[in-house]
């Protein structure tokens, strides 16, 4: 492939080949070709050049990205923390548009309890204690999450907030809207017997058995099922903590009840009616 280039000094015709032709095919003059040397000394198609070039490009890009990541990570972490605080404020039905959200958060939330590795935030709003549980689950395209605020009885929902990674705009992504969230406050996550049964998200017209329910969004069935499952499984994980309101003497019974609950929860996540039959038996 070591072709040389020759250019005709009369008409400018370029010939590619090992040696210059005797007569120019365009202007028919002889002995007018001169060899054209490549402008650069490097052959950009050689193996060595290609490998070195690739290595240099990769190193430059890697160093650049690592540097940017290092420089920006404190700011990103601060943004993430602020975002969490804002989400908790939304779950607590607080309006932070006119105040500094970080300051408002610090004035309300005064403790964090660790429950089996998951955080429970304790807030104080106008003298009343609120517990905020962190939620995480799966939607249609990616993860969904949120924060659930409960009253001091660990039963009544005070407020809720959802977030999602990549649900469909206009459909699943609508779970973050006020319209959907406002259905939750006032609902109870425990049944009459005091067992944690979560709240179902169901199509309008369908009735949940043994638990309270909210309406699902039309056109977002899988996302809403995801929300329902997320609430059920996450609350089951918190069940021990949620049952601690009862008397100490009942603690043992309570613990057994918790285990049964957890089983029920898991079944409920897949099939609500099955677990209902189980209870009746």
């Amino acid at each position: 492939m070591a072709q040389k280039k020759f250019v005709c000094s009369v008409c400018g015709y370029v010939h590619n080949g090992d040696k210059a032709p005797e007569v120019c095919p365009v202007c028919k003059q002889s002995g007018v070709f001169t060899e054209v040397k490549e402008k650069k000394g490097l052959d950009t198609n050689s193996n060595a050049y290609t490998i070195i070039y690739a290595a240099i490009i990769v190193v430059i890009v890697a160093v650049l990205l690592a540097l940017v990541s290092q420089v920006l990570s404190p700011r990103q972490a601060a943004n993430k923390l602020l975002d969490t605080q804002k989400q908790i404020l939304v779950a607590l039905n607080q309006d932070y548009s006119t105040t500094d959200p970080a300051a408002l958060y610090l004035s309300l939330v005064n403790d964090t309890i660790d429950v089996n590795g998951a955080p429970v935030y304790v807030a104080n709003i106008e003298g009343e204690t609120k517990y905020i549980l962190k939620l995480h689950g799966a939607g249609l395209w990616g993860g969904i999450g949120g924060f659930l605020a409960l009253d001091a009885d660990k039963n009544t929902i005070y407020g809720i907030n959802f977030n999602h990674e990549s649900e469909t705009p206009g459909l699943g992504a609508e779970i973050v809207t006020e319209k959907f969230r406002s259905q939750f406050p006032g609902k109870h996550i425990k049944n009459v017997a005091g067992e944690v049964v979560s709240v179902a998200v169901l199509k309008a017209g369908k009735l949940a058995e043994g638990q309270e329910q909210v309406d699902a969004l039309s056109g977002a069935t899988i996302t809403c099922d995801g929300v329902s499952t997320m609430l059920a499984t996450n609350l089951a994980e918190y069940a021990e903590f949620l049952n601690q309101v009862d008397n100490v003497s009942e603690a043992n019974q309570q613990r057994e009840a918790t285990d049964v609950n957890e089983e029920n929860q898991q079944r409920e996540a897949t099939n609500v009616s099955d677990s209902e039959q189980e209870k009746e038996e």
Binding site: K40, T44, N45, Y49, T50, Y53, A54, I57, V58, V61, L64, L65, V68, S69, L72, R75, Q76, N79, K80, L82, D83, W141, G142, E165, S166, T168, P169, G170, L171, G219
Partner: protein
């Protein structure tokens, strides 16, 4: 006007109409389907692609004579991926809300065929300034189609534009009216049909496009 010669004008404004990347070259269709349910993500995506395609064009044009031909596609991809990652990191640090909204779309930009297409077809063989204009032109050409599709889909699918209600609540059947949103508009298939409609109209109006 020396600032924009006939050629540079063509480079900048051609992609808006006669040489549109979406309706003529049929590139970048995948993201046109994904982000056009609502107007806002479509706008943001259009702007993001415009910025990144212009920047990538400039960088590739600058180093075009040093790139080994055999790995040129890989080099282009590395430049695009690095730029997108960079933009995403900067957004996370300085505009967290925007970064959260864009989340998946940022990744989608890397796979947008328009970027690779322009880098390979234009920036590899053209000067820096022309490449920059070509990037801007193609980005805008892409954004225009996205906005048109999103406009139709959000208006008829949800009755809103940019989140603001356009079709009054009282018109809806649920409130005793006569109107119902078109659920089809929310489906990706409808975006394809709308893009098809735009291509049809565009070719009807421009006989020279084949």
């Amino acid at each position: 006007m020396a600032f924009l010669s006939q050629k540079t004008k063509e480079v900048l404004f051609g992609p808006l109409n006669i040489n549109n990347p979406v309706v003529v070259q049929v590139l970048g269709i995948c993201s046109a389907l994904a982000v056009t349910v609502q107007l806002k993500p479509a706008l943001v995506m259009g702007i993001a692609v415009t910025i990144i395609v212009a920047m990538a064009n400039v960088i590739i044009s600058l180093i075009r004579n040093t790139i080994p031909m055999r790995i040129r596609i890989i080099v282009q991809l590395v430049v695009v991926a690095a730029l997108v990652t960079l933009v995403s990191e900067v957004l996370k640090a300085f505009a967290y809300d925007v970064a959260m909204q864009l989340s998946v779309y940022i990744g989608l930009i890397i796979t947008n065929c328009i970027l690779m297409g322009r880098l390979e077809a234009f920036a590899m063989t053209n000067k820096v300034w022309d490449s920059f204009l070509d990037g801007l032109g193609n980005g805008f050409g892409y954004a225009i189609i996205l906005v048109m599709v999103a406009f139709v889909r959000e208006l008829f699918g949800a009755g809103t534009l940019l989140g603001f209600r356009v079709i009054p609540e009282s018109w809806y059947v649920a409130n005793g009216g006569f109107y119902e949103n078109c659920g089809m508009m929310m489906m990706p298939a409808m975006a394809l049909i709308i893009v098809g409609g735009i291509i049809w109209a565009h070719r009807g109006l421009n006989k020279e496009v084949k």
